[in-house]
Amino acid sequence: LAKTTQPISMDSYEGQEVNITCSHNNIATNDYITWYQQFPSQGPRFIIQGYKTKVTNEVASLFIPADRKSSTLSLPRVSLSDTAVYYCLVGGLNRDDKIIFGKGTRLHILP
């Protein structure tokens, strides 16, 4: 399983764009990069997944450079309700299908 490193916590203000970067130096060729979000007292929620370049959906964008050794989750114009823990995960094909969650990044949005 590819090890991931992401900041323990981040603060930002409402209306700002937030970028959370995750390092995964030993990512394998067949690995996908997946991000989850967890609000307090709720289950994790799948946000976005990508393999290379850029992926965008209604919630976020995911930027993956050519070497795939890192990825950046971008949340546009955050609001207070985006306060949550964000998990970066690497794996997928030819791996066990359990998810091993790390500590994630605790994002705190300030008014």
């Binding site: 996908y32 997946t34 967890q38 007292s41 709720q42 289950g43 994790p44 929620r45 799948f46 997944q49 393999y51 995960l89 794996g91 997928g92 094909l93 791996r95 066990d96 299908d97 359990k98 998810i99 091993i100 969650f101 790390g102 500590k103």
Partner: protein, 117 residues
């Protein structure tokens, strides 16, 4: 939008008692999971289940734990004799039959908060 549901939302039990946590996965999903999260700690994998049998289980999932899919819709986690350290949020998750990238696209329920006294 289809979602995973779990009941009860909160269960209080005494040490040594049996509890059954219930989950209804998304209807066309075939892979099912239980995870738990002790307050303030990481989400931990317990067990995965496919085709009516356990695919994988963690060290946490000892003989006190069991899972069952008694019918076409429910997926249950039983703890035979609860301990204080079983107090946690228990999350059920499911995913489609697709392989590859979908392995990491799991849909989690809202959780059951288990309190063992």
């Amino acid at each position: 939008e289809p979602e995973v549901t779990q009941t009860p939302s909160h269960q209080v039990t005494q040490m040594g008692q049996e509890v059954i946590l219930r989950c209804v996965p998304i209807s066309n999903h075939l892979y099912f999971y239980w995870y738990r999260q002790i307050l303030g700690q990481k989400v931990e994998f317990l067990v995965s289940f496919y085709n009516n049998e356990i695919s994988e289980k963690s060290e946490i999932f000892d003989d006190q734990f069991s899972v069952e899919r008694p019918d076409g819709s429910n997926f249950t986690l039983k703890i035979r004799s609860t301990k204080l350290e079983d107090s946690a949020m228990y999350f059920c998750a499911s995913r489609t039959s697709a392989s590859g990238r979908a392995r990491y696209e799991q849909y989690f329920g809202p959780g059951t908060r288990l309190t063992v006294t």
